[in-house]
């Protein structure tokens, strides 16, 4: 038998492994809705992923130096909230503050970090915080009102980042 010449296979060098990327939108500024994007972001960054969160509309309050310290949650129109009251009572003065207190107690009792602690954890893991430029303009928020280290960006800049993400989520 005549041995066939072995066909030369062109080998392409393998590209270096690419880190996974998570792109999140945080659009809500209530205490209960501030947790999910920060939990997902700190988890993904712990897995070694690159993470960016785009804070827009009321979600921008999470990056606001003063407002992030006092995010609230309402029992009004929230049937799953910590205080189960009819909407009419939820509209009474003090109802929002009571629901916020209960939520904070739940979190404390479960040894969950609070929002400022989550922000610190995320920054320690190099999570990128995009602050929506339009929201800042509409709501009269200045760069100095935000915690340090935020990237002020518009929708196109965020989409450019999200286009190269493996997971994109809107909260």
């Amino acid at each position: 038998m005549i041995a066939q010449p072995v066909e030369k296979i062109e080998t392409v060098p393998e590209p270096p492994p690419r880190r996974r990327r998570l792109a999140l939108v945080a659009s809500k500024g209530t205490l209960d809705q501030a947790y999910p994007p920060l939990i997902l972001a700190t988890t993904a960054a712990s897995l070694g992923w690159e993470v960016g969160i785009y804070f827009t509309f009321y979600g921008l309050d999470i990056l606001h130096r003063e407002r992030l310290q006092k995010l609230k949650m309402a029992s009004l129109a929230n049937p799953s909230g910590p205080i189960q009251v009819p909407n009419l009572l939820g509209a009474l003065p003090g109802a929002t503050s009571a629901a916020t207190k209960v939520m904070k107690k739940w979190m404390r009792d479960s040894k969950m970090p609070d929002i400022p602690e989550f922000i610190e954890m995320a920054q320690g893991l190099d999570v990128t915080f995009f602050a929506c430029a339009t929201t800042m303009g509409v709501m009269g928020i200045e760069e100095g009102d935000l915690i340090s280290g935020c990237d002020i960006a518009g929708a196109a800049a965020f989409l450019d980042y999200a286009a190269n993400a493996d997971v994109q989520l809107f909260v």
Partner: protein
């Protein structure tokens, strides 16, 4: 035959919930060298799925799991950092 696992560091994250077990385990693994073993003790029921997922995503090897009813112990060998 049982193989001996040489534990480099033990971390007990009993009593805390997601994302803290993964967050704290990843911080510990980051400090360690490839090939070293982290022994991780968890009580969060989510950890049963979360810790194997973390190892997969980070590129570590889960050597052994011990589910002691309410408490889980994981032995994780650190891979190479991305």
């Amino acid at each position: 035959m049982t193989t001996q696992i040489n534990v480099t560091e033990t971390l007990d994250v009993s009593g805390v919930l997601c994302p803290l077990p993964v967050y704290k385990a990843a911080l510990a693994l980051k400090r360690m060298e490839p090939g070293q073993v982290l022994e991780l003790v968890c009580t969060d029921p989510g950890s049963l799925e979360d810790i194997p997922a973390m190892a997969r995503q980070r590129g570590d090897t889960l050597l052994k799991t011990d589910n002691r009813g309410g408490t889980q112990v994981f032995w994780i060998e650190k891979g190479t950092d991305l």
